[in-house]
């Protein structure tokens, strides 16, 4: 672990996040004058970015040889299934994570 580099990364994340949060208040004094294209992107990007983030999570998954992404597939199915059933975010995250840990530590170890 490189402490200086880690601090730099945290600083960058903090600054970018703050800049994005402050920008609208600095640039747009009233809500009526915001560019329509920006408003449009603001409403559709969050959904699209979530699609990107899910792909990001699976980017290093082993698909072509054993265990053929089976732990990921099973745990993801459990997350989706339990969410469709109970609509409880924390329950699905907890269940999926514990199941995945059991799968990689025991079943597919």
């Amino acid at each position: 672990m490189n402490t200086t580099h880690t601090l730099w990364l945290i600083l960058i994340m903090a600054l970018v996040t703050a800049a994005i949060r402050f920008l609208p208040f600095l640039v747009f004094r009233n809500a009526e004058k915001t560019p329509k294209a920006l408003e449009y992107l603001g409403s559709v990007l969050p959904g699209a970015v979530m699609g990107l983030l899910v792909v990001y999570c699976f980017k290093s998954t082993t698909v072509l040889h054993w265990p053929f992404a089976l732990p990921e597939l099973i745990a993801t199915a459990a997350v989706v299934g339990s969410y469709l059933w109970k609509r409880n975010t924390l329950l699905s995250i907890g269940l999926g994570t514990v199941l995945y840990m059991v799968l990689v530590q025991v079943a597919f170890a």
Partner: protein, 236 residues
């Protein structure tokens, strides 16, 4: 004296509203703290990030970034991509956060998804000072997040369990949000566009290089499909 009572009533009005967020933030924060600790980081690193970055999705991805020693530009880009939606929150918050005085910078800094949903949804109760009410909501929520992160990190430090696979908590979080997006008619198409473009870019450019092309591709495709998406009610 009168000011003091006002402050108390703002706290009393705000605290019950934050209870549902408390549960979510403490548990998710715990997951984040534990995940960061599992990569060998002292729990204070989690606290530092929850204090300064304060953004759930980004902090989960950050565990990946800092443990891999990612580049500065890569990190900036990732932050930009994940946090871009806050532009929209800011725009719709312009009115709410008018005339709140010196509290304003903190209110803007602490505007997370959950705080946004609370500030947006409820009217400020009668007789309660607007700025103080918003401040308590924002401050309490961040406290829950910090406490959760600290507890997760401490748990990892003192309770020795095999944490292999705990990184799936990030995947599970995003998969839940994705599922929820797909269930809602207005966010279904944008979400599928994000999934599709990112998947194609992953196959073409590989795991190390697909983020930038994905982001460009997604933005372009969303702009090209704007008339179609707006007609289908995806941009409300």
């Amino acid at each position: 004296m009168k000011k003091e009572t006002k402050k108390q009533s703002a706290f009393r009005a705000a605290f019950p509203k934050t209870l549902p967020i408390m549960a979510g933030y403490v548990v998710l924060g715990f997951g984040f703290g534990l995940l960061l600790q599992s990569k060998g980081y002292h729990f204070l690193w989690a606290v530092l990030m929850s204090l300064t970055v304060y953004g759930g999705s980004l902090q989960f991805v950050a565990v990946d970034l800092i443990s891999a020693g990612a580049g500065l530009l890569h990190t900036a880009l990732m932050s930009l991509i994940i946090q871009a939606r806050h532009l929209l929150y800011g725009i719709s918050m312009l009115k709410h956060y008018r005339k709140v005085g010196r509290k304003k910078p903190y209110l803007i800094f602490a505007l997370t998804d959950e705080t946004y949903s609370l500030v947006c949804s409820g009217e400020v109760p009668n007789g309660v000072e607007k700025g103080a009410y918003y401040l308590w909501i924002s401050l309490l929520n961040q406290c829950y997040w910090i406490i959760g992160s600290a507890l997760g990190g401490l748990f990892g430090q003192f309770v020795h369990i095999n944490t292999t696979g705990v990184e799936f908590s990030m995947t599970a979080l995003f998969v839940v949000v994705l599922t929820d997006n797909l269930l809602k008619k207005e966010s279904r198409l944008p979400t599928l566009i994000g999934l599709g473009v990112a998947f194609v870019c992953l196959l073409v450019f590989g795991a190390g290089n697909f983020l930038i092309p994905s982001m460009i591709g997604i933005t372009l495709l969303l702009l090209i499909l704007r008339p179609c998406l707006e007609k289908r009610g995806c941009a409300e």
